[in-house]
Protein backbone atom coordinates (compact mmCIF):
# COMPACT_ATOMS: atom_id res chain seq x y z
CA UNK A 1 0.00 0.00 0.00
CA UNK A 2 1.29 3.45 -0.77
CA UNK A 3 0.38 6.59 1.00
CA UNK A 4 -0.20 9.37 -1.47
CA UNK A 5 0.95 12.46 0.38
CA UNK A 6 -2.22 14.48 0.70
CA UNK A 7 -0.61 17.61 -0.54
CA UNK A 8 1.96 16.28 -3.02
CA UNK A 9 3.38 18.60 -5.59
CA UNK A 10 1.74 16.90 -8.53
CA UNK A 11 1.46 18.49 -11.89
CA UNK A 12 3.30 21.63 -10.90
CA UNK A 13 6.57 20.77 -12.59
CA UNK A 14 5.66 18.54 -15.44
CA UNK A 15 6.74 20.94 -18.17
CA UNK A 16 10.31 20.70 -19.36
CA UNK A 17 11.01 17.31 -17.80
CA UNK A 18 10.66 15.16 -20.95
CA UNK A 19 12.96 17.47 -22.90
CA UNK A 20 15.57 17.30 -20.17
CA UNK A 21 15.37 13.53 -20.16
CA UNK A 22 15.83 13.26 -23.91
CA UNK A 23 18.88 15.45 -23.73
CA UNK A 24 20.78 13.29 -21.24
CA UNK A 25 21.57 9.63 -21.02
CA UNK A 26 20.07 7.82 -18.02
CA UNK A 27 22.41 8.71 -15.23
CA UNK A 28 22.94 6.92 -11.93
CA UNK A 29 22.93 10.28 -10.13
CA UNK A 30 19.31 10.27 -8.93
CA UNK A 31 19.73 6.80 -7.47
CA UNK A 32 22.86 7.83 -5.63
CA UNK A 33 20.97 10.69 -3.98
CA UNK A 34 18.18 8.49 -2.67
CA UNK A 35 20.37 5.44 -1.93
CA UNK A 36 21.41 6.26 1.66
CA UNK A 37 17.80 6.80 2.67
CA UNK A 38 16.67 3.62 0.96
CA UNK A 39 19.42 1.47 2.47
CA UNK A 40 18.79 2.76 5.98
CA UNK A 41 15.07 2.36 5.50
CA UNK A 42 15.44 -1.22 4.31
CA UNK A 43 17.75 -2.16 7.18
CA UNK A 44 15.93 -0.44 10.03
CA UNK A 45 12.32 -0.41 8.89
CA UNK A 46 11.48 -2.99 6.24
CA UNK A 47 13.60 -5.79 7.65
CA UNK A 48 12.24 -5.38 11.20
CA UNK A 49 8.69 -5.16 9.83
CA UNK A 50 9.14 -8.52 8.13
CA UNK A 51 10.87 -10.04 11.13
CA UNK A 52 8.12 -8.79 13.38
CA UNK A 53 5.58 -10.69 11.31
CA UNK A 54 7.60 -13.91 11.55
CA UNK A 55 7.90 -13.34 15.29
CA UNK A 56 4.16 -12.88 15.62
CA UNK A 57 3.76 -16.48 14.45
CA UNK A 58 6.07 -17.81 17.16
CA UNK A 59 5.98 -18.25 20.89
CA UNK A 60 8.72 -18.98 23.35
CA UNK A 61 8.20 -22.52 24.64
CA UNK A 62 10.77 -23.73 27.16
CA UNK A 63 13.24 -21.12 26.00
CA UNK A 64 13.00 -21.88 22.27
CA UNK A 65 11.01 -19.98 19.64
CA UNK A 66 8.32 -22.34 18.47
CA UNK A 67 6.07 -21.86 15.47
CA UNK A 68 2.48 -21.54 16.66
CA UNK A 69 0.78 -20.19 13.55
CA UNK A 70 -2.03 -17.76 14.24
CA UNK A 71 -2.17 -18.55 17.96
CA UNK A 72 -0.96 -15.12 19.04
CA UNK A 73 -3.61 -13.45 16.90
CA UNK A 74 -6.35 -15.74 18.24
CA UNK A 75 -5.19 -14.92 21.74
CA UNK A 76 -5.81 -11.23 21.00
CA UNK A 77 -9.50 -11.93 20.49
CA UNK A 78 -9.83 -13.47 23.94
CA UNK A 79 -7.66 -10.97 25.77
CA UNK A 80 -9.77 -8.55 27.82
CA UNK A 81 -6.81 -6.19 28.25
CA UNK A 82 -6.43 -5.90 24.48
CA UNK A 83 -10.06 -4.86 24.19
CA UNK A 84 -9.65 -2.44 27.09
CA UNK A 85 -6.66 -0.86 25.34
CA UNK A 86 -8.57 -0.71 22.09
CA UNK A 87 -11.58 0.89 23.73
CA UNK A 88 -9.44 3.48 25.55
CA UNK A 89 -7.68 4.39 22.32
CA UNK A 90 -11.05 4.56 20.54
CA UNK A 91 -12.46 6.93 23.15
CA UNK A 92 -9.52 9.32 22.79
CA UNK A 93 -9.88 9.13 19.03
CA UNK A 94 -13.60 9.87 19.13
CA UNK A 95 -13.53 12.62 21.76
CA UNK A 96 -10.14 14.24 22.13
CA UNK A 97 -9.08 14.39 18.47
CA UNK A 98 -12.20 16.18 17.13
CA UNK A 99 -12.19 18.60 20.07
CA UNK A 100 -8.53 19.37 19.57
CA UNK A 101 -8.89 19.86 15.82
CA UNK A 102 -11.89 22.16 16.29
CA UNK A 103 -9.83 24.13 18.80
CA UNK A 104 -6.87 24.23 16.41
CA UNK A 105 -9.12 25.46 13.59
CA UNK A 106 -10.48 28.24 15.77
CA UNK A 107 -6.97 29.13 16.87
CA UNK A 108 -5.67 29.19 13.29
CA UNK A 109 -8.53 31.44 12.16
CA UNK A 110 -7.91 33.76 15.11
CA UNK A 111 -4.15 33.85 14.49
CA UNK A 112 -4.79 34.64 10.84
CA UNK A 113 -7.20 37.46 11.61
CA UNK A 114 -6.13 40.99 10.72
CA UNK A 115 -8.03 42.09 13.80
CA UNK A 116 -5.50 40.42 16.07
CA UNK A 117 -2.73 42.54 17.51
CA UNK A 118 0.72 41.17 18.33
CA UNK A 119 0.23 38.18 16.07
CA UNK A 120 3.82 36.96 16.10
CA UNK A 121 3.89 36.80 19.91
CA UNK A 122 0.73 34.69 19.91
CA UNK A 123 1.99 32.40 17.17
CA UNK A 124 5.18 31.74 19.07
CA UNK A 125 3.41 31.36 22.41
CA UNK A 126 0.90 28.78 21.25
CA UNK A 127 3.65 26.85 19.55
CA UNK A 128 5.85 26.56 22.65
CA UNK A 129 4.11 23.52 24.19
CA UNK A 130 5.10 21.49 21.15
CA UNK A 131 8.75 22.20 21.89
CA UNK A 132 8.40 20.78 25.39
CA UNK A 133 9.48 17.18 25.58
CA UNK A 134 6.84 14.49 25.97
CA UNK A 135 8.31 13.12 29.16
CA UNK A 136 8.86 16.56 30.60
CA UNK A 137 5.30 17.70 30.19
CA UNK A 138 3.95 14.33 31.26
CA UNK A 139 5.80 14.66 34.57
CA UNK A 140 4.76 18.29 34.95
CA UNK A 141 1.10 17.42 34.43
CA UNK A 142 1.29 14.51 36.84
CA UNK A 143 2.39 16.91 39.59
CA UNK A 144 0.02 19.74 38.60
CA UNK A 145 -2.90 17.32 38.69
CA UNK A 146 -1.99 15.67 41.98
CA UNK A 147 -5.23 15.23 43.90
CA UNK A 148 -4.16 16.48 47.31
CA UNK A 149 -1.26 18.83 46.59
CA UNK A 150 -1.56 19.82 42.94
CA UNK A 151 -1.87 23.41 41.80
CA UNK A 152 -4.95 22.73 39.70
CA UNK A 153 -7.01 21.40 42.59
CA UNK A 154 -5.78 24.21 44.81
CA UNK A 155 -7.02 26.75 42.25
CA UNK A 156 -10.31 24.88 41.92
CA UNK A 157 -10.78 24.79 45.68
CA UNK A 158 -10.55 28.58 45.63
CA UNK A 159 -13.64 28.46 43.43
CA UNK A 160 -15.29 26.07 45.87
CA UNK A 161 -14.87 23.04 43.64
CA UNK A 162 -13.89 19.97 45.65
CA UNK A 163 -10.75 17.96 44.97
CA UNK A 164 -10.96 16.30 41.58
CA UNK A 165 -9.32 12.83 41.47
CA UNK A 166 -7.51 13.74 38.21
CA UNK A 167 -5.19 10.76 38.06
CA UNK A 168 -6.65 8.33 40.57
CA UNK A 169 -10.10 7.83 39.06
CA UNK A 170 -10.50 6.02 35.74
CA UNK A 171 -12.67 8.54 33.93
CA UNK A 172 -10.77 11.54 35.28
CA UNK A 173 -7.48 9.94 34.27
CA UNK A 174 -8.79 9.69 30.73
CA UNK A 175 -9.82 13.33 30.86
CA UNK A 176 -6.38 14.29 32.22
CA UNK A 177 -4.72 12.42 29.39
CA UNK A 178 -6.94 14.25 26.89
CA UNK A 179 -6.10 17.60 28.48
CA UNK A 180 -2.37 16.91 28.31
CA UNK A 181 -2.59 15.83 24.67
CA UNK A 182 -4.67 18.87 23.76
CA UNK A 183 -2.25 21.19 25.53
CA UNK A 184 0.67 19.69 23.66
CA UNK A 185 -0.62 19.30 20.11
CA UNK A 186 -3.23 22.03 19.48
CA UNK A 187 -0.63 24.63 18.58
CA UNK A 188 1.10 22.22 16.24
CA UNK A 189 -2.12 21.48 14.36
CA UNK A 190 -2.98 25.16 14.33
CA UNK A 191 0.29 25.94 12.55
CA UNK A 192 -0.45 23.44 9.78
CA UNK A 193 -3.96 24.85 9.38
CA UNK A 194 -2.65 28.41 9.51
CA UNK A 195 -0.25 27.70 6.67
CA UNK A 196 -3.10 26.47 4.54
CA UNK A 197 -5.29 29.39 5.54
CA UNK A 198 -2.76 31.83 4.19
CA UNK A 199 -3.14 30.22 0.78
CA UNK A 200 -6.89 30.84 0.64
CA UNK A 201 -7.30 33.68 -1.87
CA UNK A 202 -8.38 36.98 -0.35
CA UNK A 203 -10.72 37.54 -3.30
CA UNK A 204 -12.94 34.70 -2.14
CA UNK A 205 -13.62 36.56 1.11
CA UNK A 206 -14.23 39.78 -0.81
CA UNK A 207 -16.66 37.97 -3.10
CA UNK A 208 -18.41 36.45 -0.11
CA UNK A 209 -18.78 39.82 1.54
CA UNK A 210 -20.12 41.33 -1.71
CA UNK A 211 -22.68 38.52 -1.71
CA UNK A 212 -23.66 39.68 1.74
CA UNK A 213 -22.20 36.75 3.66
CA UNK A 214 -21.61 37.33 7.35
CA UNK A 215 -18.58 36.12 9.29
CA UNK A 216 -20.12 32.72 9.94
CA UNK A 217 -21.21 32.14 6.34
CA UNK A 218 -17.76 33.17 5.12
CA UNK A 219 -16.22 30.68 7.53
CA UNK A 220 -18.52 27.90 6.36
CA UNK A 221 -18.30 28.52 2.64
CA UNK A 222 -14.79 29.88 2.17
CA UNK A 223 -12.58 29.01 5.15
CA UNK A 224 -13.65 25.41 5.74
CA UNK A 225 -13.47 24.27 2.09
CA UNK A 226 -10.12 26.03 1.78
CA UNK A 227 -8.84 24.24 4.86
CA UNK A 228 -9.87 20.83 3.62
CA UNK A 229 -6.45 19.45 2.56
CA UNK A 230 -4.86 20.65 5.78
CA UNK A 231 -7.73 19.25 7.83
CA UNK A 232 -7.20 15.91 6.14
CA UNK A 233 -3.50 16.06 6.96
CA UNK A 234 -4.05 16.99 10.60
CA UNK A 235 -6.82 14.42 11.01
CA UNK A 236 -4.71 11.61 9.58
CA UNK A 237 -1.62 12.63 11.57
CA UNK A 238 -3.62 12.91 14.80
CA UNK A 239 -5.28 9.56 14.20
CA UNK A 240 -1.96 7.84 13.61
CA UNK A 241 -0.46 9.56 16.64
CA UNK A 242 -3.40 8.60 18.85
CA UNK A 243 -3.38 4.97 17.80
CA UNK A 244 0.33 4.81 18.58
CA UNK A 245 -0.06 6.70 21.85
CA UNK A 246 2.61 5.67 24.33
CA UNK A 247 4.70 8.38 25.98
CA UNK A 248 1.92 10.35 27.67
CA UNK A 249 0.04 7.48 29.34
CA UNK A 250 3.33 5.83 30.25
CA UNK A 251 4.61 8.89 32.11
CA UNK A 252 1.34 10.43 33.28
CA UNK A 253 -0.54 7.40 34.57
CA UNK A 254 1.49 4.31 33.70
CA UNK A 255 -1.69 3.05 32.01
CA UNK A 256 -3.66 3.16 35.25
CA UNK A 257 -5.64 3.48 37.38
CA UNK A 258 -6.94 0.00 36.83
CA UNK A 259 -5.95 0.13 33.14
CA UNK A 260 -8.25 3.09 32.43
CA UNK A 261 -5.54 4.73 30.32
CA UNK A 262 -3.96 1.56 28.99
CA UNK A 263 -3.32 2.14 25.27
CA UNK A 264 -2.30 -0.42 22.68
CA UNK A 265 1.17 1.15 22.67
CA UNK A 266 1.57 0.76 26.44
CA UNK A 267 0.19 -2.77 26.38
CA UNK A 268 2.54 -3.70 23.56
CA UNK A 269 5.49 -2.29 25.50
CA UNK A 270 4.47 -4.21 28.62
CA UNK A 271 4.25 -7.48 26.75
CA UNK A 272 7.57 -6.99 25.01
CA UNK A 273 9.77 -5.43 27.63
CA UNK A 274 8.18 -6.41 30.94
CA UNK A 275 6.96 -9.93 30.14
CA UNK A 276 9.40 -10.52 27.23
CA UNK A 277 6.57 -12.10 25.24
CA UNK A 278 7.89 -10.88 21.89
CA UNK A 279 5.57 -13.06 19.82
CA UNK A 280 2.44 -11.65 21.39
CA UNK A 281 3.82 -8.09 21.30
CA UNK A 282 4.46 -8.51 17.58
CA UNK A 283 0.93 -9.71 17.00
CA UNK A 284 -0.30 -6.61 18.83
CA UNK A 285 1.89 -4.43 16.64
CA UNK A 286 0.43 -6.00 13.52
CA UNK A 287 -3.12 -5.59 14.75
CA UNK A 288 -2.31 -1.93 15.37
CA UNK A 289 -0.86 -1.52 11.88
CA UNK A 290 -3.93 -2.99 10.22
CA UNK A 291 -6.10 -0.66 12.26
CA UNK A 292 -4.07 2.40 11.27
CA UNK A 293 -4.15 1.37 7.62
CA UNK A 294 -7.92 0.89 7.65
CA UNK A 295 -8.66 4.14 9.47
CA UNK A 296 -6.25 6.05 7.23
CA UNK A 297 -7.98 4.71 4.12
CA UNK A 298 -11.38 5.54 5.53
CA UNK A 299 -10.33 9.12 6.27
CA UNK A 300 -8.91 9.61 2.79
CA UNK A 301 -12.22 8.35 1.41
CA UNK A 302 -14.29 10.67 3.56
CA UNK A 303 -12.16 13.81 3.51
CA UNK A 304 -9.84 13.38 0.57
CA UNK A 305 -10.11 13.48 -3.22
CA UNK A 306 -12.22 16.54 -3.97
CA UNK A 307 -10.17 18.88 -1.85
CA UNK A 308 -6.65 17.73 -2.49
CA UNK A 309 -6.54 17.56 -6.27
CA UNK A 310 -7.50 21.17 -6.88
Amino acid sequence: MTLAPPVAATGARRSGAPAARRRRRPSPAPYLFVLPALLLFAAFKLYPIGWSFVMSLHRKVAGADTFVGADNYLRLLDDPLFWTALRNTGVILAVQVPLMLALATGLAVALNSTLLRGRSVFRLGFFLPMVTGLVAYGIAFSVLLNKEYGLVNWLLSGLGIGPVPWLTDGLWAQISLGLALTWHYTGYNAVILLARLQNVPKELYDAASVDGAGAFAAFRHVTLPGLRPALLLTTVLSTIGTLQLFDEPMVLTGGGPDNATLTIGVYLYRNAFSYFDFGYASALAYALTVLIGLLGLLQFRLLGDKGSTS
Partner: protein, 275 residues
Protein backbone atom coordinates in the same frame (compact mmCIF):
# COMPACT_ATOMS: atom_id res chain seq x y z
CA UNK B 1 -9.01 46.92 8.58
CA UNK B 2 -7.95 47.13 12.20
CA UNK B 3 -9.39 50.59 12.64
CA UNK B 4 -12.77 49.59 11.34
CA UNK B 5 -13.51 47.26 14.24
CA UNK B 6 -11.57 48.47 17.29
CA UNK B 7 -14.00 46.75 19.65
CA UNK B 8 -13.76 43.37 17.98
CA UNK B 9 -10.02 43.69 17.74
CA UNK B 10 -9.69 44.21 21.47
CA UNK B 11 -12.11 41.39 22.18
CA UNK B 12 -10.22 38.93 19.99
CA UNK B 13 -6.80 39.95 21.28
CA UNK B 14 -7.79 39.75 24.93
CA UNK B 15 -9.59 36.44 24.37
CA UNK B 16 -6.47 34.92 22.88
CA UNK B 17 -4.35 36.46 25.63
CA UNK B 18 -6.42 34.60 28.22
CA UNK B 19 -6.10 31.36 26.25
CA UNK B 20 -2.34 31.90 26.01
CA UNK B 21 -2.15 32.46 29.75
CA UNK B 22 -3.86 29.11 30.35
CA UNK B 23 -1.45 27.44 27.95
CA UNK B 24 1.52 29.13 29.61
CA UNK B 25 0.61 28.21 33.21
CA UNK B 26 2.19 24.74 33.12
CA UNK B 27 5.36 26.17 31.60
CA UNK B 28 5.59 28.96 34.17
CA UNK B 29 4.86 26.54 36.94
CA UNK B 30 7.65 24.16 35.87
CA UNK B 31 10.12 27.05 36.09
CA UNK B 32 8.85 27.98 39.56
CA UNK B 33 8.78 24.40 40.83
CA UNK B 34 12.35 23.88 39.60
CA UNK B 35 13.49 26.31 42.31
CA UNK B 36 11.69 24.60 45.18
CA UNK B 37 12.26 21.46 47.19
CA UNK B 38 9.92 18.53 46.76
CA UNK B 39 8.26 19.31 50.11
CA UNK B 40 7.63 22.93 49.17
CA UNK B 41 6.08 21.94 45.85
CA UNK B 42 3.44 19.94 47.68
CA UNK B 43 2.77 22.66 50.25
CA UNK B 44 -0.66 24.17 50.51
CA UNK B 45 -0.93 26.71 49.00
CA UNK B 46 1.54 25.60 46.30
CA UNK B 47 4.41 28.00 45.61
CA UNK B 48 3.69 30.51 42.88
CA UNK B 49 6.95 32.46 43.02
CA UNK B 50 10.55 31.27 42.59
CA UNK B 51 12.23 29.74 45.63
CA UNK B 52 15.82 29.13 46.64
CA UNK B 53 16.40 25.40 46.09
CA UNK B 54 17.47 25.37 42.45
CA UNK B 55 21.10 24.56 43.22
CA UNK B 56 20.10 21.86 45.71
CA UNK B 57 17.90 20.33 43.01
CA UNK B 58 20.79 20.39 40.55
CA UNK B 59 22.95 18.69 43.14
CA UNK B 60 20.37 15.96 43.62
CA UNK B 61 20.06 15.50 39.88
CA UNK B 62 23.80 15.14 39.56
CA UNK B 63 23.99 12.58 42.35
CA UNK B 64 20.94 10.53 41.53
CA UNK B 65 21.12 10.64 37.75
CA UNK B 66 24.62 11.81 36.65
CA UNK B 67 22.78 14.72 35.10
CA UNK B 68 25.85 16.50 33.74
CA UNK B 69 26.75 13.40 31.80
CA UNK B 70 23.12 12.94 30.75
CA UNK B 71 22.95 16.46 29.31
CA UNK B 72 26.17 15.84 27.36
CA UNK B 73 24.72 12.55 26.09
CA UNK B 74 21.58 14.28 24.89
CA UNK B 75 23.47 17.13 23.27
CA UNK B 76 25.88 14.78 21.51
CA UNK B 77 23.22 12.37 20.31
CA UNK B 78 20.87 15.10 19.10
CA UNK B 79 23.67 16.96 17.30
CA UNK B 80 25.07 13.92 15.54
CA UNK B 81 21.57 12.77 14.68
CA UNK B 82 20.62 16.16 13.25
CA UNK B 83 23.71 16.26 11.03
CA UNK B 84 23.41 12.69 9.75
CA UNK B 85 19.64 12.57 9.36
CA UNK B 86 19.71 16.04 7.86
CA UNK B 87 22.16 14.84 5.20
CA UNK B 88 20.18 11.66 4.45
CA UNK B 89 16.83 13.45 4.22
CA UNK B 90 18.17 16.36 2.19
CA UNK B 91 19.92 14.10 -0.33
CA UNK B 92 16.81 11.96 -0.74
CA UNK B 93 14.48 14.96 -0.90
CA UNK B 94 16.64 16.51 -3.62
CA UNK B 95 16.76 13.26 -5.58
CA UNK B 96 13.00 12.83 -5.49
CA UNK B 97 12.23 16.47 -6.17
CA UNK B 98 14.53 17.29 -9.06
CA UNK B 99 15.00 14.08 -11.07
CA UNK B 100 12.57 11.96 -12.99
CA UNK B 101 13.75 8.37 -12.85
CA UNK B 102 12.41 4.87 -13.11
CA UNK B 103 10.73 3.78 -9.89
CA UNK B 104 10.66 7.28 -8.43
CA UNK B 105 7.06 7.25 -7.28
CA UNK B 106 7.25 3.65 -6.04
CA UNK B 107 10.40 4.28 -4.01
CA UNK B 108 9.01 7.47 -2.55
CA UNK B 109 5.77 5.69 -1.67
CA UNK B 110 7.79 2.96 0.02
CA UNK B 111 9.56 5.53 2.20
CA UNK B 112 6.25 7.21 3.06
CA UNK B 113 5.02 3.83 4.26
CA UNK B 114 7.15 4.65 7.28
CA UNK B 115 4.64 7.36 8.18
CA UNK B 116 1.73 4.98 8.59
CA UNK B 117 3.44 1.87 9.90
CA UNK B 118 3.52 2.36 13.66
CA UNK B 119 6.96 2.70 15.16
CA UNK B 120 6.04 0.05 17.70
CA UNK B 121 6.10 -2.66 15.08
CA UNK B 122 9.86 -2.36 14.71
CA UNK B 123 10.70 -2.04 18.41
CA UNK B 124 11.11 -5.70 19.24
CA UNK B 125 13.09 -6.81 16.15
CA UNK B 126 15.30 -3.73 16.36
CA UNK B 127 15.97 -4.40 20.02
CA UNK B 128 16.98 -7.98 19.24
CA UNK B 129 19.16 -6.84 16.35
CA UNK B 130 20.94 -4.35 18.58
CA UNK B 131 21.39 -7.03 21.24
CA UNK B 132 22.89 -9.46 18.73
CA UNK B 133 25.25 -6.80 17.41
CA UNK B 134 26.20 -6.04 21.05
CA UNK B 135 25.13 -2.49 20.42
CA UNK B 136 22.86 -2.07 23.44
CA UNK B 137 23.90 0.99 25.39
CA UNK B 138 25.71 2.50 22.40
CA UNK B 139 24.95 5.76 20.68
CA UNK B 140 24.83 4.24 17.21
CA UNK B 141 21.96 2.08 18.40
CA UNK B 142 20.04 5.22 19.34
CA UNK B 143 20.85 7.20 16.21
CA UNK B 144 20.93 4.77 13.28
CA UNK B 145 17.36 3.41 13.06
CA UNK B 146 15.69 6.78 12.51
CA UNK B 147 18.11 8.45 10.11
CA UNK B 148 15.85 7.98 7.07
CA UNK B 149 12.98 9.83 8.71
CA UNK B 150 9.96 9.80 6.36
CA UNK B 151 8.69 13.19 7.48
CA UNK B 152 12.11 14.76 6.90
CA UNK B 153 12.31 13.30 3.40
CA UNK B 154 8.77 14.47 2.69
CA UNK B 155 9.56 17.98 3.94
CA UNK B 156 12.70 18.27 1.81
CA UNK B 157 11.03 16.93 -1.31
CA UNK B 158 8.23 19.45 -0.90
CA UNK B 159 10.62 22.34 -0.36
CA UNK B 160 13.01 21.39 -3.12
CA UNK B 161 10.33 20.85 -5.71
CA UNK B 162 10.14 24.64 -5.72
CA UNK B 163 13.71 24.94 -7.08
CA UNK B 164 13.65 26.53 -10.55
CA UNK B 165 14.65 24.02 -13.22
CA UNK B 166 16.47 26.75 -15.14
CA UNK B 167 18.82 27.30 -12.21
CA UNK B 168 19.92 23.66 -12.21
CA UNK B 169 20.11 23.45 -16.00
CA UNK B 170 22.29 26.53 -16.25
CA UNK B 171 24.62 24.95 -13.71
CA UNK B 172 24.82 21.80 -15.85
CA UNK B 173 25.62 23.83 -18.96
CA UNK B 174 28.49 25.39 -17.03
CA UNK B 175 29.82 21.86 -16.58
CA UNK B 176 28.93 21.37 -12.97
CA UNK B 177 28.83 17.75 -11.75
CA UNK B 178 25.57 16.51 -10.23
CA UNK B 179 26.79 16.43 -6.64
CA UNK B 180 28.50 19.81 -6.89
CA UNK B 181 25.31 21.13 -8.41
CA UNK B 182 23.45 19.94 -5.35
CA UNK B 183 25.94 21.49 -2.95
CA UNK B 184 26.64 24.76 -4.71
CA UNK B 185 23.45 25.57 -6.58
CA UNK B 186 20.57 23.77 -4.92
CA UNK B 187 21.41 24.04 -1.23
CA UNK B 188 22.12 27.76 -0.72
CA UNK B 189 18.59 28.98 -1.52
CA UNK B 190 17.23 26.15 0.66
CA UNK B 191 18.53 27.67 3.88
CA UNK B 192 15.12 28.33 5.48
CA UNK B 193 13.93 24.81 4.69
CA UNK B 194 17.19 23.37 6.04
CA UNK B 195 16.80 25.37 9.23
CA UNK B 196 13.27 24.02 9.65
CA UNK B 197 14.49 20.49 9.05
CA UNK B 198 17.35 20.94 11.52
CA UNK B 199 15.04 22.17 14.28
CA UNK B 200 12.59 19.41 13.60
CA UNK B 201 15.25 16.71 13.71
CA UNK B 202 16.93 18.12 16.81
CA UNK B 203 13.59 18.41 18.59
CA UNK B 204 12.63 14.91 17.56
CA UNK B 205 15.82 13.34 18.89
CA UNK B 206 16.09 15.55 21.97
CA UNK B 207 12.62 14.55 23.12
CA UNK B 208 12.56 10.97 21.87
CA UNK B 209 11.72 8.61 24.67
CA UNK B 210 10.67 5.10 23.66
CA UNK B 211 13.65 4.00 21.63
CA UNK B 212 16.36 5.40 23.93
CA UNK B 213 14.45 3.89 26.87
CA UNK B 214 14.72 0.48 25.22
CA UNK B 215 18.33 0.49 24.01
CA UNK B 216 20.04 2.47 26.74
CA UNK B 217 20.62 0.33 29.81
CA UNK B 218 23.19 2.10 31.98
CA UNK B 219 22.18 5.27 33.77
CA UNK B 220 25.41 6.98 32.69
CA UNK B 221 24.41 6.66 29.03
CA UNK B 222 20.79 7.84 29.46
CA UNK B 223 19.38 10.78 27.58
CA UNK B 224 17.43 13.46 29.45
CA UNK B 225 13.90 12.04 28.97
CA UNK B 226 15.01 8.55 29.98
CA UNK B 227 16.83 9.89 33.03
CA UNK B 228 13.83 11.96 34.12
CA UNK B 229 11.46 9.05 33.70
CA UNK B 230 13.78 6.78 35.66
CA UNK B 231 13.84 9.30 38.51
CA UNK B 232 10.07 9.38 38.54
CA UNK B 233 9.98 5.64 38.98
CA UNK B 234 11.86 5.74 42.27
CA UNK B 235 10.06 5.05 45.53
CA UNK B 236 10.56 8.50 46.86
CA UNK B 237 10.36 10.74 43.86
CA UNK B 238 12.13 14.06 44.26
CA UNK B 239 9.87 16.25 42.14
CA UNK B 240 11.91 19.37 42.82
CA UNK B 241 14.89 17.72 41.18
CA UNK B 242 12.87 16.22 38.33
CA UNK B 243 11.21 19.50 37.48
CA UNK B 244 14.56 21.28 37.62
CA UNK B 245 15.76 18.73 35.07
CA UNK B 246 12.65 19.35 33.00
CA UNK B 247 13.32 23.08 33.00
CA UNK B 248 16.95 22.55 32.01
CA UNK B 249 15.91 20.20 29.21
CA UNK B 250 13.72 22.93 27.78
CA UNK B 251 16.49 25.55 27.66
CA UNK B 252 18.43 24.38 24.58
CA UNK B 253 15.15 23.74 22.79
CA UNK B 254 13.89 27.21 23.56
CA UNK B 255 17.18 28.75 22.43
CA UNK B 256 17.31 26.82 19.16
CA UNK B 257 13.65 27.45 18.56
CA UNK B 258 13.78 31.18 19.26
CA UNK B 259 16.92 31.63 17.18
CA UNK B 260 15.50 29.87 14.16
CA UNK B 261 11.73 30.19 14.64
CA UNK B 262 11.27 32.54 11.71
CA UNK B 263 12.76 29.87 9.45
CA UNK B 264 11.03 27.09 11.29
CA UNK B 265 7.52 28.35 10.89
CA UNK B 266 8.00 29.58 7.32
CA UNK B 267 9.93 26.46 6.32
CA UNK B 268 7.45 24.12 7.93
CA UNK B 269 4.62 26.05 6.39
CA UNK B 270 6.17 25.87 2.95
CA UNK B 271 6.90 22.19 3.33
CA UNK B 272 3.79 21.00 5.07
CA UNK B 273 1.02 22.28 2.91
CA UNK B 274 2.34 23.73 -0.28
CA UNK B 275 0.34 22.98 -3.38
Amino acid sequence: MTNRHPGRSILLTSGLAIALAVVAIPLYWVLVAATHSSDEIFDSPPPLLPGTSFLDNLNTLQQEAHFGQVILNSLGIATVYTLLAGAVCTLAGYGFATYRFRGREALFGLLMLGLIVPAQITLVPLFRTMAELHWLNTYQAVVLPNLALPFGIFLMRQSMSGLPKELLDSGRIDGCGEFRLFLRVALPPMRPALAALAIFLFLYQWNDFVWPLIVLRASTSFTIPVALASLQGLDETDYGAILAGTAIAAVPMAVVFLALQRHFVSGLLAGAVKE
